[in-house]
Point group: C2
Chain length 628, copies 2
C-alpha cells in the first residue's frame, strides 16, 4: 500500500513498522534512524485524526480503488443471488457486512461515499433487511436502531453502539452515566477477575470516605494542581424551603466549616490513614485496594471514556524501599495487561508516561495504551510510582530493622469503567450493527433459541431437549440463556442478541431435537454448524468460546500491528525528552506522547539516534498519538 506522499509518508510508514515491533514486543528491534529530523512529525501526527476527518486528504492509486470496486461488485452479486434464493439472514449478514466494509474502505480512500445516491438508499435497506429477516413486529428499543456509520461520525457511532447494546444510558445529571444491566454485567465480570488477581498479589480490599477535606488536597503540591481544579464541592449539609418560594435551597445555617471535595482519587485520605497504621518495617509492605466511585468535573464528557463520575479500583501500597515500590508498580501494570488480554481480548502497548502526562504527584507513571479503530490512543490503565512524595506530605515514617526512621515509598494504580469504552472501540466494526463481546465478560456466553409453534408434542420435545443442553452447559460453567419469549419471532431474537454481542447462538427446532443436534451460529460470522448433543457437547461449546476469544484477540493485535494504515495514528520516533517541545507538538497537532514503550526503552533502542524534532541526541523512543 505504498502511497506517493514523499518523505512524510515514508516517515509514517517507518513509524508504523516500528509500531509493529512494539506490538510484537521485539525488544531487539532496530529502528531506522538517520534522517529523523526530516520526519516532521507535526505533519504526521496532524493526520492522526479520525479517518472521517482526513478522508479527503490522501491521494490514492487508481489500481487500489479499482480492486475495491471489483470486490464490491462481486459481493453485490452474491447478495442478490442469496436474496433470490430467500436465504436465511445469517447467510446474508456476513456478505452485507463485507459490502459495507468495502464501501467504507472506498470512502476512506477517496473521501467520497461509494455510489452516493444508491448508497444513501441501500444502507437503511440493508438494515431493514436484517430486521425483516427477523420478521419481528415491534422491536424493543427500536428507536435506538439507527447506528450512525463509523466513517460518517465516529463519535456518534460510538454513542449509538453503546446505546443499541444497552450498555449505558444518559442520565439527568450532566456528565454522569447510568450503567444498564448489560453493561454492568460486563463490568462485574471484569471486576471479579481483577479482584482475584489483585488479591493474588497480597493486596486487601478496604473502603475510605467519599469526601476529602479541602485542606488534604493542598498537602501534596503537584497533586493539588492536578485535582483541585475541577471537582464536586460539598458546602452545605441541609436543604430547606426557599423563603422566596423557589423550592429547596441549601440551608444557609447548615454551611460546612470546611468544604468537602468528592474524591477525584483517594491518595490523600489513604495516606492520612497509612500514617496511623504504619510505624515499623513489620507493617510493610502495606497493600490496599478500593473499589469505588470517583468524580472529576469534566466539561466535555463521553460515557465510559470521560465522565464526571466513574467506577474504578484504586490500589495504594507502601514499601520499605524504592526498589520494592517500583517493582510493585511494574507488577501491577503487567497484571492489568494480562487481565485486559484474557478478559477483553484487548492488545495494549506498555510504557511510561512523559513528564507532561505523568500523574500529579508521581515520579513515574506506567501505562497501558490501547489503539482504537480511529487511530486514537486510549489510556486504559495506569500504575504510579509515587516516590516518597505522599509519605512526606502526610508524615509517614517507619522504623527500619536498624531502628532508623525513614519515609516509606509508595505506589498507586487503577483501572476504570473506561475499559468498557476500549472494549467497544476495539471489537465493534464498520457496519455499526456488529458489536463483539469477548466470551470472558459476555453476560450470556450462549443464547439458545427454541423454535417452536404453539403447544404440542414437538414443542415438548424441543423444550426437554433444550433443558438437557442447558444442564450440560451450566455444569461446564458456561453462562447460558434460553430465550423463550413467546411474543417475539426467532429472527427478532437473533437481531437483539447480535446487537448485544452474545458470542454464540444455538437454534433448536423439532427436526434438530429429533436428530439430537443444535445449530450453532457464531457472532463472529461464518456458516452455521450442527453440534451434536453428546458427551462432548459442553466441551465443544467451550472450545468455540475459546475460538471466539482468540479471533478477537488476533483481530485486535493485527489492527495494532499493521492494520489499516489509514486509520493508525500511532507514531514511534526517537525523542529528546523536553516538556516544552511536547507542548509545542500538542498545540500544532493535538498529538501527545502516549508513552515511552517499555521494551524498546529498556533495550535502549534510542541510542545513537537523534530526536526527530530537535535533532539532539535521543533519550527515549516515544509513541505519539492523539488521545481520548
Amino acid at each position: 500500500m505504498a502511497r506517493s506522499r514523499g518523505s512524510t509518508a515514508q516517515a509514517a510508514t517507518m513509524t508504523m513498522l516500528a509500531l509493529l515491533a512494539v506490538a510484537r514486543r521485539a525488544s531487539s528491534f532496530a529502528l531506522m534512524g538517520g534522517s529523523a529530523r526530516q520526519m516532521q512529525i507535526r505533519g504526521a501526527v496532524a493526520r492522526a485524526r479520525p479517518a472521517a476527518l482526513c478522508m479527503s486528504s490522501t491521494p490514492v492509486q487508481d489500481g487500489q480503488l479499482q480492486a475495491i470496486k471489483d470486490q464490491i461488485a462481486a459481493v453485490g452479486d452474491r447478495i442478490r443471488s442469496l436474496k433470490a434464493e430467500s436465504a436465511d439472514k445469517s447467510m446474508l449478514q456476513p456478505e452485507v457486512e463485507a459490502l459495507l466494509s468495502l464501501k467504507a474502505q472506498y470512502q476512506t480512500l477517496t473521501g467520497e461515499p461509494f455510489d452516493p445516491p444508491k448508497a444513501g438508499a441501500k444502507k437503511p435497506q440493508a438494515k431493514q433487511q436484517q430486521q425483516k429477516g427477523g420478521k419481528q413486529g415491534q422491536v424493543k428499543g427500536q428507536e435506538s436502531d439507527k447506528i450512525t456509520p463509523r466513517n460518517q461520525d465516529y463519535s456518534q457511532w460510538y454513542l449509538d453502539v453503546i446505546s443499541a447494546a444497552e450498555l449505558v444510558d444518559s442520565s439527568p445529571v450532566k456528565g454522569c452515566m447510568v450503567i444498564r444491566p448489560w453493561g454492568m454485567a460486563v463490568w462485574d465480570a471484569l471486576r471479579n477477575d481483577l479482584d482475584a488477581r489483585i488479591k493474588d498479589k497480597g493486596v486487601s480490599n478496604a473502603y475510605f470516605p467519599l469526601f476529602i477535606p479541602r485542606s488534604f488536597l493542598s498537602k501534596e503540591a503537584e497533586h493539588v494542581e492536578g485535582f483541585a481544579k475541577e471537582c464536586a464541592v460539598v458546602t452545605h449539609h441541609r436543604l430547606c424551603a426557599d423563603p422566596n418560594g423557589g423550592g429547596l435551597v441549601p440551608d444557609p445555617e447548615a454551611k460546612l466549616e470546611e468544604p468537602l471535595v468528592v474524591r477525584p482519587t483517594s491518595e490523600t485520605i489513604i495516606w492520612h490513614m497509612f500514617g496511623k497504621w504504619i510505624s515499623s518495617h513489620r507493617d510493610l509492605p502495606m497493600k490496599i485496594n478500593q473499589w469505588a466511585n470517583v468524580v472529576r468535573w469534566e466539561m466535555r464528557t463521553r460515557p465510559f471514556l470521560r465522565s464526571a463520575e466513574f467506577l474504578w479500583q484504586e490500589g495504594h501500597t507502601a514499601h520499605a524501599t524504592r526498589e520494592d515500590a517500583l517493582k510493585c508498580a511494574r507488577e501491577m501494570l503487567d497484571m492489568y495487561a494480562d487481565s485486559v488480554k484474557d478478559m477483553l481480548a484487548l492488545p495494549v502497548v506498555k510504557g511510561t508516561k512523559s513528564p507532561m502526562e505523568r500523574f500529579a504527584g508521581a515520579e513515574e507513571t506506567f501505562t497501558i495504551e490501547g489503539m482504537m479503530q480511529n487511530g486514537w490512543a486510549l489510556q486504559s490503565g495506569t500504575s504510579h510510582f509515587l516516590g516518597q512524595n505522599f509519605a512526606r506530605a502526610f508524615d509517614v515514617y517507619f522504623q527500619t530493622k536498624n531502628e532508623d526512621r525513614e519515609l516509606v515509598w509508595a505506589t498507586s494504580w487503577g483501572v476504570s469503567t473506561r475499559l468498557m469504552g476500549a472494549l467497544v472501540m476495539t471489537h465493534s466494526d464498520d457496519a455499526g450493527l456488529r458489536q463483539q463481546l469477548p466470551p470472558a465478560v459476555a453476560p450470556h456466553q450462549v443464547v439458545i433459541v427454541p423454535i417452536t409453534k404453539g403447544q404440542g408434542e414437538d414443542t415438548d420435545l424441543v423444550n426437554s431437549f433444550v433443558d438437557t443442553a442447558v444442564a450440560q452447559l451450566k455444569a461446564q460453567g458456561i453462562r447460558v440463556k434460553v430465550d423463550d419469549r413467546d411474543h417475539l419471532r426467532p429472527g427478532a431474537k437473533y437481531f437483539e442478541w447480535e446487537r448485544k454481542g452474545v458470542p454464540l447462538r444455538l437454534e433448536v427446532g423439532a427436526r434438530d431435537a429429533k436428530g439430537k443436534v443444535l445449530t450453532l451460529a457464531r457472532r463472529t460470522g461464518g456458516d452455521k454448524t450442527p453440534i451434536p448433543l453428546d458427551d462432548s457437547f459442553a466441551e465443544a461449546i467451550q472450545q468455540e468460546l475459546q475460538g471466539v476469544h482468540e479471533l478477537l484477540w488476533k483481530e485486535g493485535e493485527d489492527h495494532m500491528a499493521s492494520g489499516d494504515k489509514d486509520r493508525t495514528g500511532f507514531y514511534l520516533v526517537p525523542w529528546c525528552c523536553d516538556a516544552s517541545r511536547e507542548k509545542e507538538i500538542q498545540e500544532d497537532s493535538k498529538a501527545t506522547i502516549r508513552c515511552y514503550p517499555l521494551d524498546l526503552n529498556e533495550a535502549k533502542a534510542y541510542e545513537g539516534k537523534t530526536c526527530f524534532y530537535s535533532g539532539e541526541p535521543a533519550t527515549h523512543m516515544a509513541l505519539f498519538a492523539r488521545a481520548f
Copy 2:
C-alpha cells in the same frame, strides 16, 4: 426469676413470654390478654435501656444473689487450681469468661460491682493473664488492647471491640468511617452471598449517578420530607485560591445552576430512568439492584450503625400489579432473613413497620429486627412496597395486555454495612476480648500456627506437614491462613486471631507433625482436640465450622427467645394503631414500635384483645423496644 415488682413486672414477664413465641414463630400462640390496660408500658419500656443505665433500679431477691455468689466462688476455685497446674490459656479462658459473666450478672442485679476492691485489681489481671498465657512481648495494636467492659459503657465497649478487631477506623471526615481490610473481607463475603441470592430472584445489577438533582427530591411529597433534610449538598464544581490568601475556596464562578444532592437513596433517579425504559407490560417486571455508597448527614454517628456515608445494596422493582409488587417486597424480606441466618447466624423478627416508622414514600415497610445484647433493637434490613407513589411522581405508565394505560407498582429494598454492627452486637460477649465471626463470613476460617524453633529438620518437617494440611483445606474451599511470622511468639498470634474472631485455630509442633495430627482450638471455647491429617481431615474441619455456625445461631436465638431477662427490652403488646399515641410513648420512654410481627399479625393474634395503652380494640400485635 420472679421479682417483686407488682403488675408492671408481670407485664414484662408476659411480654417476654410473647416474644418467645415470636422468635419461635409459634403463630398459634395465644397472648394473655385481659388486664392489658394496667400493663403500663410506659414504665416497662423505660427500662428497655442498656443494662448499665438501669443497674441500680431493680430490687432483687436475696436467694438469687446468693446463688450467683456461690457460683463465683466455685469458678474462682477452679481457676486457681488450673493456674496451680500451669494449665494452658485455652483451658483457663472459658473459666475466666464464666467468672466475668457471673460478676456482670451480679452487677446488673445489684447495681454494684462484685467485691469492688478486688474486682478492680482482678479484671486487668485477667487480661494480663490472657496476654501472659500467650507470652508475647510486644503485641501489635497493643494500644487498642483496652476494651471497656460491656456493663460499664456499652457504647464504648462497642467502639473498642470493632477497633480491636480492626474492622473499622475513624476517619478525618466527621461521621465517615474507614472500613479496614478485616471488616471489608467480612462485608465482601456477605455481599457475594447476597448478590447471588438477588440474581437468583431475576434481578440485574446496574449503576446510577451519585448525584441527584435537587428538583428530583421534591417530586414525591413524603420522600422530600424524609430525605431532603440532612444531606450533602454540592454547590460548586471547582476550588480556586482564596484571593485573601486563605488556601482553596469554592470558586464563585463555578457555582452550579442547580445544586446537586449526594444520594441518600436512589428511588428518584431510578424512577426517572424507569420512565424511559418502561412502556409495555412486556417490560415488566423490571428488577434492578445497585451496590453503592449513600450519604445521610447524621448528627450523632456510630461506625456501621449510623454513619454519614455507608455502603449498601438498594433494589428497585416495577410491576404490573399491586399483588406482584407486594409479593416481591415480601420475598426480598425472606431473602434477607435467610442470608443473615446463613452468613451471620443472626436471628431476627420479621414484621411490618407502623406508619410512624415507615419509609418516606412507602405504603408498607417490611423489616427484619435484630435484638442486640443490651436489649435494644437494630433494624437490620427493610423492604418497601411503594404502591404507585413513585410511578405517579415520575409519570411511569405502561400499556397493559388490553392496551389500557396504567401506573406501575413499585418496591425498593436494602441492607447495608449496618449489618456489621449487628454482627458485633450479637456475637461478642461480656469479657470484651471475645468476638465471634460466623465461619461463613470469616476472612480466615482457619488459622494454622506452626510452632517451630529456628531452622532444622523438625522445622522442615512441620512446614511440609502444614503445606499438606493447607492443600487439603483449600481443596475443600476452606479459607485458611498460615501465620508463619517469625517475630511473634505463638501466644501473641493466638491472641491476635482470637480478637479478630477467627473460628478455628490449628497448632502444629514437631511432635504433632511426627504423629500426623494437628491440635484444634475453637474460638467458641472448650478443650483443644487432636485432629488427624487423614483423608477425612478437611471434612472434619468443615464439620467443625458448621458446628461453630450452629452454636452461634443457637446462642443468638436463645438470647432472643428467653435470654437474660434483665437485658431483654422487647415488649410485645396488643395495640390499636395510632401515630400520636406511639409518639407519646416514644417521648416518655424512648421506645418505639419496631414492628408488627408478621406471623402473629397474619394469624390475627390481636383479635379479641384490647390495646394495652388506649383500651380500645386492638388492631395489631406490636413489638416495642428502644432502637439504635
